[in-house]
Symmetry: none
């Protein structure tokens, strides 16, 4: 079976000037790769007709599928639509369905359609409209001599669901793709090199159909197995077998699969065990609560949080003893323990989590440098605490504190 090649074109001066980080190329790469396409080229050009036209022509000459994002807004610097209309020799006309959709989009938000927005329903007649459920600029699909071009808006929250819900399914109708099977196993609490060392014999013995990748994130490592071949069932069996050998080596670090986040995995355990959670956050500043409440349905198990940024809040609201803070400091095992117990009682939760540390850049001392963080998890059977030695960078320290605290909750839940 021949490879179906794909190319990604992102359009925007703001990308070339380095004012906007291009995460769209990355997302499209992932989704095309998962579907079995071979992504061969990514190109970024500015809002310049000549450069865009050359990129379109080059992509058509060398790739089966070309995905384009950007340049679709209602303002004058957005050129993608008229240029693609020319490129595919197509007239423009108001697409009634698109007009109804963009009108509805505005009306449902209690706003009136402007002339500028009405123009978003003007589409090349040769394209197939792709619905944009999350914004006003529709996507467009063109086909010529077996090659497919898709243009999408550059706003990630509009583009991402469009890729997954509309574009990939549509492309699968146009091309015969190789069978492909993926599995992502999510781990937390072990670094990439330690994980690689632990499983190196297993990795070397993997069957040739399976490619392994380590995908590190803040405090976590995803292991991805990809198998390509001609039969999906065979590939799935190969991956099942490999996973069966892998898991006993790393079970304590594994919390989930695929796109499941740590906060989502913990939510499932809480529902299953019929337990509730509350957090008392100092240095994590609400990041843990924010992660937990990002999950739909979290109100079933999340009571709430007290972000105690000042010591007075730790004392007055969470009931931390005045003497504890003055004797041991706000960043101490004793304080974080009382915070966890305090929020558990105050918010009437089964599990109380707490963080207190020095996120930086200021506030460090020789004894407690920036990156010193205490975390705690209080349950009916007692309090577990952990001291973290993180780095110098504030954002990183906040994020890692949140991940470590969620992982501590996961471990406590396994025992309670």
């Amino acid at each position: 079976m021949r490879n179906i090649t794909a190319e990604i074109i992102t359009v925007g001066d703001e990308l070339l000037y380095g004012q906007t980080l291009d995460t769209n190329s990355h997302y499209m790469s992932q989704k095309l790769d998962e579907a079995g396409f071979s992504v061969k080229y990514r190109v970024t050009v500015g809002d310049v007709a000549k450069d865009m036209n050359e990129a379109f022509a080059q992509a058509e000459s060398r790739s089966d599928v070309t995905l384009i994002t950007g340049g679709l807004g209602p303002t004058e610097d957005d050129l993608t639509k008229p240029l693609l209309a020319d490129f595919f020799n197509s007239e423009m006309a108001i697409n009634e369905e698109a007009l109804a959709e963009v009108t509805e989009y505005f009306e449902s938000r209690g706003r009136k359609l402007t002339e500028l927005n009405r123009g978003q329903a003007l589409l090349p007649v040769k394209c197939t409209k792709i619905r944009n459920r999350y914004g006003t600029a529709p996507g467009m699909l063109f086909e010529r001599n077996g090659k497919v071009f898709v243009s999408m808006p550059g706003v990630p929250r509009e583009m991402r669901p469009m890729v997954v819900e509309e574009v990939i399914p549509e492309l699968k109708k146009h091309f015969e793709l190789p069978a492909i099977a993926h599995r992502i196993i999510r781990t937390v609490g072990i670094g990439e090199s330690f994980l690689a060392d632990k499983i190196k014999d297993w990795a070397q013995a993997l069957p040739k159909e399976i490619a392994l990748a380590y995908l590190p994130e803040e405090g976590q490592v995803k292991l991805r197995m990809t198998a390509k071949g001609s039969d999906h069932g065979t590939l799935k069996n190969l991956i099942d077998e490999a996973e069966g050998k892998l898991l006993p080596m790393i079970q304590e670090y594994v919390y989930g699969y695929g796109e499941e986040s740590l906060e989502e995995a913990i939510g499932k355990i809480l529902i299953e065990k019929n337990k509730t959670l509350a957090t008392a956050e100092s240095c994590s500043g609400g990041r843990v609560a924010s992660k937990i409440t990002s999950i739909a349905g979290s109100s079933a198990y999340f009571q709430g949080s007290v972000v105690a940024y000042q010591n007075s809040v730790k004392e007055k609201v969470l009931g931390v003893n005045l003497d504890t803070i003055s004797e041991h400091g706000a960043v101490s095992e004793q304080t974080v323990r009382e915070m966890a117990e305090g929020v558990r009682g105050l918010l009437n939760a089964d599990i109380g989590l707490a963080s207190s540390g020095i996120a930086g850049p200021g506030g460090g001392t020789e004894e407690k440098p920036v990156g010193t963080v205490w975390i705690a998890c209080a349950t009916a059977s007692g309090v577990e605490t952990k001291l973290l030695h993180l780095g110098k960078f504030r954002q990183n320290n906040i994020e890692l504190t949140a991940v470590h605290l969620l992982n501590l909750a996961r471990k406590c839940l396994a025992k309670n």
Copy 2:
């Protein structure tokens, strides 16, 4: 003066597969743009000789400067060096200075040089070596017919200092660059199309030296003016003058400049006015607190937050009246008003912010559909509230609630 054009080529299968986010292109774009180069193209290819050679040839034909990252490691799949040697018809030889540097690099870390690493000192004789202070693979600079190629390692912490300390200063010796001036004006509370409509006459009358771009983010739009010419002072004056005409039209929406975030701008106002802030969050779930505490030094003005995800927490901790919730519901002007006043008193803050709404996907009713959100800001002089009609998507609703609430705080601070 003619534009000096630049192109960026990043090499690596891991980029095309979507396993590694390409932040190198973004960084190089920024640094080239700041120095006055016109970045026109960015290209990503895999570790494939044919694709890399084609990218090199195309870049040489159309761009003055080409920066390449990736494919410089010691392993077999790293092709950049031998391919560039061929491309510039150059023999390879051990570069004694590079050998001394890589030897020192290993010795200073107590490790012995392996044969594999010794190979990193083997360089095309036609290139100028560029020192890598943070790793083992040197950079290379080639020149032919006035065009310059620079190859750098793909590891960001090696590449970034190399760009700033070595490559940009070297390039400035090769090219006479235009003067360039940038200004980004940050707005909140108005959509891109409404903003464009409001300032369209001004935009059309901009002097030809100034290019304007709209950069939308969640709930915000950045306006970017870029001026190029021969004299920096003249350009700055042109931008000052344009801004002077623009601001009166959009003053109420403008909160800052450049990279400054809304939470950072509010932090500055709070410090300037010597006021403190606290938040009571229901549907925003800690997102507002998390944004505020992402700013270094926020402990100077942020008291803390009560994330009141359950009604019991609204009542017990924030002191919201039982009757208010039972009569008007948790998502109501009355409740959010009492939450803002409650947290202001409880945490002893000058300003109390509150959110209560239906983030979705569940919990909506006909009367209060998903996306219905009340926000409030309580100060010594009273409470301001606002009803938001957001969309259907949880993450978006949370993020937009946070931005709207911060904007409400900004407006209240202007009056108090």
